[in-house]
Subunit: 337 residues, 2 copies
């Protein structure tokens, strides 16, 4: 087999089926995928389903702590999980630039397999397109996912039950993913390497839901970062939010890099961080549950839902004074996910 | 609003939500999408689901008879339908090149809306990424889809019940889509314009299944064309296939163009054609049912499942003599879908 991806690998003919067998089936192998039917046939015993999609175009494809394949699995798993669903099945659609090294495709697929195992999901259907050199940048991956709901968790993603007094918990340090990707892109040498936080959060979220305490709202802090999630939470609402800058977990090294580049960590994309909104009197117990999970050990309560500032998210800064958090106006950092 | 897509439209911030509201929600509007949750929440009363994904990278984006948006909806609807499922929900993931005209994005989304209406499916969740100029070619769209099964139709896509004597029906002229795209790409002036056959086939397929006659196998004739489907059907099987060249519907103009370019219509991608395999004594009745549908009026019986040539698909040519149909070896035509 050739060492690079050729246009023929996207032809739908012999080379495509060779590639499917030698790479995709090899890594993603399971009973459903192996049937190679036009659609995956799933047996789901549930009335209520979650369905999510995301395309991943991160540049560079490999970065400290992860690669585009890990992102593609974790990202969609997390979209389903923050909706309150249990992720079960993923699709994987590849758009590959002619000449892309097969070896790198294998590393990416191996990572996808490992992330899927961690998250306990199956990759059950896929598609491959190959475009000529210069018509896409290396590789783009779309994953779509299906999850099922237990009980009434499908109401979580609408956030209808958020009330004044509810507490906001962030599951750990923010900004790591963005800084890891910028570092790799700009070839920056860090004193202490900053790794992407890319991770599937569904099992952490499952642990939290298992406490039985009401979950008001969850959202993963991807593109647009914590700031965008907060602004969207209060948009057109009677309540507001106040968060305290000194309680927001940001690594010193990330803060430093942000100052140099002129970025604000609040707006930085994360790929393994989630915001929980819970009742005040459950907040401490839920925080402890989160901290027991490997992906939540640096979780903190960062603020609360407030009255008197309806429709506004406010940051109480370390140096004193408040600042209204705005929606990101333009593009801070393209191709971060 | 700016007339071209900017990087900020993919930021996840204000410009992204403006784009979502002014284009995607405008055209795809429905109760599920409007909630703008991380995952679409679907209510499905079925144990057995079909799940399919496809990325569309067709070049040019607009071609006689269609555009990339029509392809993206019809293609995935057809993947679900040939599995025997009733398509219900689609996702739409856009990767857009910076500078792409918003007006063209609107035309594409309007087409997607119209195709979805024709096929009676809803677009319920989506994603938008914008990459810098030169990092992708105009626009790529991924659609994934969910369908439900009635009865035991989920066995159709495995083709387990194919038997010697079964008849093969093709739903109409083959090669139109490929020639329409090549024509647009190479700026060829045709005497009689050849239009792409892009169309959602699920309602045609539903009509056929409603006859109650057993459906042995269905497959849409996309990348790799009729030839590839036939080769895959007989691969590792005890039975073979014989098709008769003069029974295969190919327009004269398509045949002519194929001769000029050195293409074989058997391998040309179609986007609105399906192969049915049915019992011989039901074939005529099913053919008539197909011909009553607007997308099946040129359907024909083209051959049958045979013994004595196990594992081989054979073409009886017009000029006499047989030829074994091989799998497409390389890439005939990149970016046709």
């Amino acid at each position: 087999m050739n060492k690079n991806i050729l246009l023929g690998h996207g032809s739908g003919g012999k080379m495509t089926s060779d590639l499917i067998n030698s790479v995709f089936v090899k890594y993603f192998d399971n009973d459903i995928l192996r049937k190679k039917t036009d659609s995956a046939i799933l047996n789901i015993n549930a009335g209520e389903l979650a369905f999510a999609t995301d395309s991943y175009v991160v540049d560079p494809v490999f970065f400290p702590g992860g690669n585009i394949g890990m992102l593609a699995v974790s990202g969609t798993v997390n979209d389903l999980a923050v909706s309150g669903a249990k992720p079960l099945y993923l699709s994987a659609g590849f758009i590959i630039e002619e000449g892309f090294p097969l070896e790198q495709l294998e590393i990416i697929c191996k990572s996808m397999k490992e992330e899927a195992l961690k998250a306990k999901v199956l990759i059950v259907t896929g598609d491959t397109k190959v475009v000529k050199r210069g018509q896409c940048d290396k590789i783009f991956i779309n994953t779509s996912g299906i999850g099922i709901f237990n009980k009434k968790n499908h109401e979580i993603s609408e956030g209808k039950n958020i009330r004044v007094g509810d507490k906001l918990i962030v599951s750990g340090y923010i900004g790591d993913h963005s800084i890891a990707v910028i570092g790799a892109r700009e070839n920056i040498q860090f004193e202490n390497e900053i790794l992407s936080d890319v991770a599937p959060l569904n099992l952490l979220i499952q642990d939290v839901l298992k406490t039985g305490h009401e979950m008001k709202f969850m959202r993963d802090l991807t593109r647009g970062g914590l700031a965008t999630v907060l602004v969207e939470m209060v948009e057109d609402k009677d309540f507001g939010i106040i968060i305290t800058e000194e309680d927001i977990p940001v690594r010193e090294s990330v803060n430093g890099l942000c100052e140099i580049f002129g970025y604000d960590p609040l707006y930085m994309a994360n790929e393994g961080k989630v915001l929980f909104v819970v009742k005040a009197n459950n907040a401490e117990e839920i925080l402890q549950t989160i901290q027991k999970n490997e992906y939540g050990k640096d979780a903190r309560i960062i603020g609360e839902v407030t009255s008197g500032n309806g429709g506004m998210a406010i940051l109480e800064s370390v140096i004193g004074g408040n600042r209204i958090i705005d929606k990101l106006a333009g593009e801070q950092l393209p191709r971060i996910c």
